[in-house]
């Protein structure tokens, strides 16, 4: 038998001014199940709360309805009060008779009538409430960072700094990512390696950080606080623990014609290699596609020269399983493939390069030792044309619909550096818009124009035609001058759009983290939760979430780390008990609910059921992970059989409210 108590708050005159609170209490006292009804000037005051507590104890109330301000205001207050009097805190319902009644109606009679109806609805609901308890799950105090670029490095360092174990999984032989390939950074023009490599070393030396380089995530199971991740350590054919990184093997290796991927294939290296001098871990790796020993068993030079005995031609991929409490995605980006842009002759001429290739060409550790030379004939270029928005802001289907954000600034940087070092070189930048929102960004761009004399031309390059004389004829429009320009250039640099790394899509599936149509990870809330994925326990760092420059990436990386730390300091996770649950006897196992769940909280299990004729049958039924479910209720409507229901907002409860309102 229900024993419901109704408490009507005056809120001074806020409610009592337009609602006859005494009449409301009197009317609601006659509702079925109500055994106590009272009004009081301020229910949320200590004495008001005591009134509630006393009534709960005295009348043995099974449910409490408070007619007061919005539940968004004091729901927690009243729930705590109920709990302290021994009533389950979820046996409290609030009728919002202030914001949604007294404050919007002027007529006492109308407002009082409405308040009674709202009270009735709350009574009808509370009569169907069930005591709920938040479930608790332990937290594995270890984080995984997927991707070892600047985003991953910063996140890992910050997490480790707070005293938690953190692992980095990097698919390349070294951490460092794209930033390691960059020459200088805008707008300060300091050397990227000089600021990045110390952080890489910090990672290597931090005892809380473990780096799985040349490794990939294979599987992810579990949920927030309790992930189990399968990691594949790809065979390097070099024992990491023995290799000292002396580099002797790379010198002696006879296979010198291997494309140097670190330099984007602009030069070559040996089949056994260390990507670059400051690589972390500084360990050699054998490129199995080029190594003669691995291909046909003839060679073995590296093994012979290695004093540490680190070479192991029989090494196999290693599969590891680790447990984590939180996962940070920092998978980064790549410039897009330019196959769709024949007009820029990228495939025809080696002198048409992408901006990232230009970084390598200008880098001291690059193919030309830092001197800018045309890739085709190694001569000094005297005219360089930069093309902006190659594949960015492109809705024609060839490129990407979004702005890649970083190109305007790095092009200004390139133009400035070239003009600075080679004043005899004319630099043209064709742009659609120059976008420079950022600290000191616009000043930087203006310096390129005003101090360095870079020719910025509003218009686009329509076609690049390699000439017989080795030059590149660039045809472009100058929209402001209203003319079509034909420039004979020595080099053309394309600001190729950036896109999320190809591995991100499959990773998102493993993580049940959602992605947008461009394969950027979606954040839990675009404004208020920008570094969390909607899937609890999955955090986002860097360009995997959207185009960003280095300072923004680092800021987000630290933010993600802060979120991870906030999660890992907890011993147990308490979850909202207002979550979905499946009635297994009704569940069809049809997967409709799983498909609408934004959190991947629903999984299926095969269960044995006793059939009416006493036989047993194995059926596939849904199971909701209480730690992951956030209680939106999408599944309850997707479920045709009504097997899914939501605690705290059950079908019965909502229909009871509907009934009470329409009565």
């Amino acid at each position: 038998m229900q024993k419901i108590g109704v408490f009507v708050c005056h809120c001074g005159t806020n409610i009592a001014g337009t609602v006859d609170v005494k009449a409301v209490a009197e009317a609601l006292s006659h509702e079925p199940g109500v055994v106590f009804a009272a009004d009081y000037p301020y229910m949320c005051s200590e004495s008001g709360q005591n009134l509630i507590k006393d009534a709960i104890r005295e009348h043995g109330l099974t449910g409490v309805v408070i007619c007061s301000c919005s539940p968004r205001m004091h729901e927690t207050t009243f729930r705590k009060a109920a709990a302290s009097a021994g009533l389950n805190s979820y046996m409290v319902e609030i009728a919002n008779i202030r914001e949604q009644c007294s404050w919007i109606h002027k007529d006492m009679k109308t407002a009082t009538e409405k308040a009674v109806i709202l009270g009735r609805a709350a009574i009808a609901k509370v009569a169907l409430n069930t005591p709920l308890t938040a479930s608790e799950t332990p937290v594995t105090k270890r984080a995984l960072v997927i991707g070892g670029g600047i985003a991953g490095i910063q996140t890992a360092l910050d997490i480790a700094d707070a005293g938690f174990e953190v692992d980095i999984v990097e698919k390349e032989p070294t951490i460092g990512g794209k930033m390691a390939q960059i020459d200088k950074t805008f707008p300060t023009l300091d050397c990227a390696a000089c600021i990045l490599t110390p952080k890489m070393v910090d990672c290597a030396q931090n005892e809380k950080i473990h780096i799985y380089a040349y490794s990939e995530v294979e599987s992810v199971k579990g949920f927030v606080g309790n992930f189990t991740v399968g990691i594949k350590k790809k065979a390097r054919y070099v024992d990491e623990t023995k290799c000292t990184g002396c580099g002797l093997c790379t010198e002696k290796c006879p296979m010198k014609k291997t494309p140097n991927l670190f330099n984007l294939g602009l030069d070559t290296r040996s089949a056994i290699y260390i990507p670059f001098a400051q690589a972390v871990p500084k360990v050699a790796t054998i490129d199995a596609d080029y190594c003669n020993m691995l291909k046909n068993g003839r060679c073995g030079v590296c093994s012979k020269v290695c004093t540490a005995g680190a070479i192991d031609y029989h090494q196999q991929d290693e599969h590891i399983e680790e447990k984590y409490g939180a996962i940070v995605v920092a998978t980064g980006f790549n410039p897009i493939k330019l196959d769709n842009f024949d007009e820029y002759a990228y495939a025809q001429s080696p002198d048409v390069v992408t901006s990232l290739e230009l970084e390598r060409l200008m880098n001291a550790a690059g193919p030309n030792g830092g001197t800018l030379l045309r890739p085709s004939d190694k001569t000094h270029p005297h005219t360089i044309v930069f093309v902006q928005c190659v594949g960015s802001r492109d809705t024609s289907g060839c490129g990407k619909p979004y702005c890649s954000k970083i190109c305007c600034m790095y092009t200004a940087k390139h133009a400035m550096l070239i003009r600075d070092k080679y004043p005899d070189t004319e630099v043209y930048v064709f742009y659609i818009d120059v976008r420079t929102p950022g600290k000191n960004f616009d000043e930087f761009y203006r310096r390129a124009v005003e101090e360095y004399g870079v020719h910025y031309i509003k218009g686009m390059v329509g076609k690049v035609m390699p000439q017989k004389n080795g030059k590149l004829l660039v045809r472009a429009s100058d929209l402001l001058a209203g003319e079509q320009l034909k420039i004979e250039a020595d080099m053309v640099v394309l600001a190729a759009a950036i896109e999320p790394d190809k591995t991100a899509r499959s990773l998102a599936t493993m993580l049940t983290a959602s992605m947008d149509t461009n394969d950027f990870f979606t954040e839990a809330h675009p404004k208020l939760r920008p570094v969390e994925s909607p899937t609890a326990g999955i955090f986002l760092s860097g360009v995997c979430q959207g185009p960003k420059d280095i300072p923004e990436t680092v800021a987000q990386a630290s933010a993600a780390a802060a979120k991870v730390i906030g999660l890992l300091v907890k011993d147990k996770l308490k979850s909202n008990p207002c979550i979905a649950h499946a009635n297994e006897t009704l569940c069809n196992g049809c997967s409709s609910c799983e498909r609408v769940c934004p959190y991947g909280a629903i999984t299926y299990v095969d269960k044995e059921f006793r059939m009416p004729d006493r036989t047993t049958k194995i059926r596939r039924v849904a199971s909701v992970n209480a730690a992951v479910c956030q209680g939106c209720g999408a599944c309850t409507v997707a479920c045709p059989s009504g097997a899914m229901d939501l605690s705290g907002f059950s079908n019965q409860q909502i229909m009871a409210e509907v009934d009470a309102i329409c009565r």
Partner: protein, 322 residues
Amino acid sequence: MQEAMKKRAKELLASGEVTRVIGWKKNEFDYDITPAVFESAEEIDRDFRYDDFCGPNLSKFTFKNQKNDTKTLVFLKPCDTYSMTQLITEHRVNRDALYLIGIPCFGKIDIEKIRADGTDGILSIASEGADVTVKTLYGDKTYVKADVMAERCLACKSKYHTIYDELMGEEGEVMETGRFNEVEKLEAMTPDERFGFWRGELSRCIRCNACRNACPACTCESCVFDNPDTGISQKAAADSFEENMFHIIRAFHVAGRCTDCGECSRVCPQHIPLHLLNRKFIRDIDKLYGEYQAGEEVGQRSPLVNFTTDDAEPDIVRKGGK
């Protein structure tokens, strides 16, 4: 075709490849067809039947009579394959325990159309080519097959089989036969006319649940209308509201999953054109969210559990912008 099917079924039984065969058998009259499980060559020889009266969709029958520990051969007409595919997508049948044979269909005859013509006392009925010959107590009659074919067959959406292990006869194609004409006609009416139309139709409903129980999409362990805990269970439509409620919610629950097999209308003892409700949803989905045919392939994502960020707003209905 019938003989070939019998032969193949017997072969598969004999080889032990399958232990059960799901097909059709003749009942009291020529047009009376009952889905059945055959477990021996004798049963097949005696009762197996496949002709222009074999309307029942064997997918639902297979769902109800599935066995996991043994392999069952199921003969599927093109439209039955869509239902079967959908059932597999929803994990409602175990594909591994089924051996599916696609068979051609040339349109099924609707005996109710012949009866509605006033033909009664039917002693025998035969369909050959374009002619349907009926012998009755009160004289013989010949119909052109197209005139007495079921509505769903006249507007056949596909002669293509979406799933099978083996195909008998030639593979057909997806067709464009104006199955939405009736829906469009209704859409063109005024709301009052539509209301009148549907009241007239739905008021005949006797809530026998034949539509639901025959529907291959309605395979819920327990239907919301049978489960007293849902608060909306009904045993009879005690008010016109409940007639609407049942049919709207039933159509909504199968929306995006309904393959438009037409069983609901076939089995309705009161001749309510229930398929027009389902087709409305199919039509809206096609128009608003892109062409979608449930049961086309295993693992499809129904439009109701899917979205794009630039979907039409619900306003579109109020503004009549469709």
